[in-house]
Assembly symmetry: C2
Homo-oligomer: 253 residues x 2
């Protein structure tokens, strides 16, 4: 095990760089922080580059750490660890892992959540976690979605990137492709003339599209769907948070 006591250490500098998408893409790596996320990565068979902890962490998380190759473990002085942590009161465990391949095209689509330009990292992460909990098979990220390898998404996902397949596709080609495979694709709209979600007859294989926080699903995408659903608002709120709408739809369909 290697000890790192200086914040000027090259590895420490590289980890700070991984806060930026540019470097995550370049190095094909990202950073997971905290016991739960590191544990999910281990269980999920993630490809570990480094496991970072402190002297205290070696003791507190010893059961977890024993599953990581010793030559990948780096023990940081507490102040160095705190300097790279994104969390106000950090648990003293962190991992650098290889990114998964989001470009594969799986043929076993069953129930899929499709995100069109969802920009808020907390919303993207929460929706992936909810899709996992709802037993969906895939999440498809269209253009403009928050990068799933940033801290806020990772913390909201709670490790669901290891449970559910996540892919990036151009929705304007992806949707018609699935429809030729007889999958129904449903958009969502804040429009009372759209189809009340409670009246739709669901099959075992379908996709639901949720859209941007401000603009909703884009017109080009809505034009491709089999039907567009809405959730009736009973009170005076103008709309629902997009992650809440996704949760209601995924658990009712």
């Amino acid at each position: 095990m290697e000890y790192i006591t200086s914040a000027k250490n090259q590895l420490v500098k590289n980890i700070k760089k991984l806060a930026k998408k540019k470097y995550r893409d370049e190095l094909n790596q990202y950073v997971l922080e905290g016991e739960h996320l590191v544990e999910e990565a281990l269980k999920g068979g993630a490809d570990f580059v480094y496991l970072l902890t402190t002297d205290g962490g070696l003791i507190a998380y010893r059961e977890l750490i024993q599953h990581v190759d010793e030559d990948k473990i780096r023990v940081l002085a507490s102040h160095v660890f705190e300097g790279i942590s994104e969390i106000p009161t950090p648990q003293k465990i962190m991992a650098v892992v290889k990114k998964q391949n989001l470009n594969s095209q799986n043929q076993s689509y069953r129930k899929i959540l499709i995100l069109d330009n969802v920009q808020d990292p907390g919303n993207v992460g929460t929706m992936i976690r909810t899709a996992d909990a709802a037993g969906f098979s895939h999440v498809i990220l269209g253009l403009g979605c928050a990068d799933i390898y940033q801290g806020k998404v990772l913390r909201a996902m709670q490790g669901s990137q290891y449970h559910i397949a996540i892919e990036e596709h151009n929705l304007l080609t992806f949707i018609p492709e699935q429809q030729t495979n007889k999958m129904k694709i449903y958009g969502t709209e804040l429009n009372k003339d759209a189809f009340d979600y409670r009246h739709i007859e669901m099959s075992d294989s379908f996709g639901i599209i949720l859209g941007n926080e401000g603009q909703g699903v884009s017109k080009e995408v809505l034009a491709l769907t089999d039907a567009n659903l809405y959730i009736p608002i009973l009170g005076q709120a103008e709309s629902l948070n997009v992650a809440i709408a996704a949760g209601i739809l995924m658990f009712s369909l």
Copy 2:
């Protein structure tokens, strides 16, 4: 209309102080930022103390601003406005309004969302917005919940504090009181031995309790309920975000 060009102006200093709960409680005021929230406050009949804008805002939001007494309007130099804004790219409109009374005890409870020690401001705000959208009559805040008058809660609520009654109560006395009025109160638990929410027979008048992000609803509170509900998890996620769980329950019951 009064112009303010210095960041050292006493009003500017006071508004900065309102970022702290201590001062919000002391002055019985809070700050709303952005066109939508200010508009909701006007529509909701909020008691305005000040409306703050800039020269540009006077033009951009003139329709809104004309509904506010002129002696309450303060026009800030842009750099002064940006200095008190909590938003990265602020809309140049903000209001200081009087807090509502959360201590009343309403007797017209119908469908109520009860929050027990929900600490994340985004979760509290999103749940109040969802309760509004679901046509609930009340939200009850128990001990330990995030203060609803802080910026993150206000932005997530989207003005729902003017649509739905919000009250603060000690749940250990509030729950039995409602039960003596024949209202059923349901807890929520991450426990497969709890009652599947899809099998519950709902009446027109009930309460649902959601709990802390880490610990859930406290044992003392769960012990008082008529039944405790759970949402079956179909995938590998260990749990749902509390605001998502609240949304699923409120829209299905």
